[in-house]
């Protein structure tokens, strides 16, 4: 089974609409990170969540962590073309040194004008 599973795998939304991407872990989360990857490029750090119930926002993006459900969600409000890309969740599942990250398969977001 997948350690980190993202849903949906792809998403097409009209500009201005809200959307949510989910990331579910099969193991206890010791840190959850959201990154954005533009096609063929590097990973841009968005946000990290550590504690159950934690919620963080940056501009129009909000991320939450539900520790009990071992799940995180990323919500974008009033989407813009600049939000298009691949969103990856990464998690520290080992709680030991070196912070080895495991990643989900990514959610490809397309914003239609």
């Amino acid at each position: 089974s997948q350690e980190l599973e993202q849903s949906p795998q792809s998403l097409i939304v009209q500009e201005g609409k809200n959307l949510t991407i989910n990331c579910t872990s099969s193991k206890t989360l010791y840190g959850l990170y959201w990154y954005k990857q533009k096609y063929g490029e590097g990973l841009i750090f968005l946000m990290m969540l550590q504690k159950g119930g934690e919620e963080k926002s940056h501009e129009k993006i909000t991320a939450k962590l539900d520790e009990k459900k071992q799940q995180s969600s990323l919500h974008i409000t009033a989407s813009q073309p600049s939000h298009a890309g691949i969103y990856l969740c990464g998690a520290d599942l080992l709680r030991q040194g070196a912070q080895k990250l495991v990643f989900g398969q990514g959610t490809r977001l397309t914003i239609n004008p």
């Binding site: 063929g40 590097g42 750090f45 495991v102």
Partner: protein, 115 residues
């Protein structure tokens, strides 16, 4: 804002040849990582490095792979005898601390194509 830089952006190499991928981590960071992403697949952890030693490595990181910090700024990944299946995007990352409250910052990657 400081960033992780990787060179080259694209490397094409014949199968069986050695290749060295280079990274300059963020200057005050102490922990360094290599990940790879085969086209269409997940980003996978390869190795972590701290204090001139490998901290952890994955099953992918076999004897054909090695890492080095040859000076105070560079961090390299060497593949001794490349195989077709080594074709992938290789990402370098760095962080100040291994603790979960410090995110890893990634470079733009090197696309490695093995012919």
């Amino acid at each position: 804002e400081p960033e992780v830089t990787q060179t080259p952006s694209h490397q094409v190499t014949q199968m069986g040849q050695e290749v060295i991928l280079r990274c300059v981590p963020i200057s005050n960071h102490l922990y360094f990582y290599w990940y790879r992403q085969i086209l269409g697949q997940k980003v996978e952890f390869l190795v972590s490095f701290y204090n001139n030693e490998i901290s952890e490595k994955s099953e992918i990181f076999d004897d054909q792979f090695s890492v080095e910090r040859p000076d105070g700024s560079n961090f390299t990944l060497k593949i001794r005898s490349t195989k077709l299946e080594d074709s992938a995007m290789y990402f370098c990352a760095s962080t100040r601390s291994f603790l979960s409250n410090q995110p890893q910052h990634f470079g733009d990657g090197t696309r490695l194509s093995i012919l």
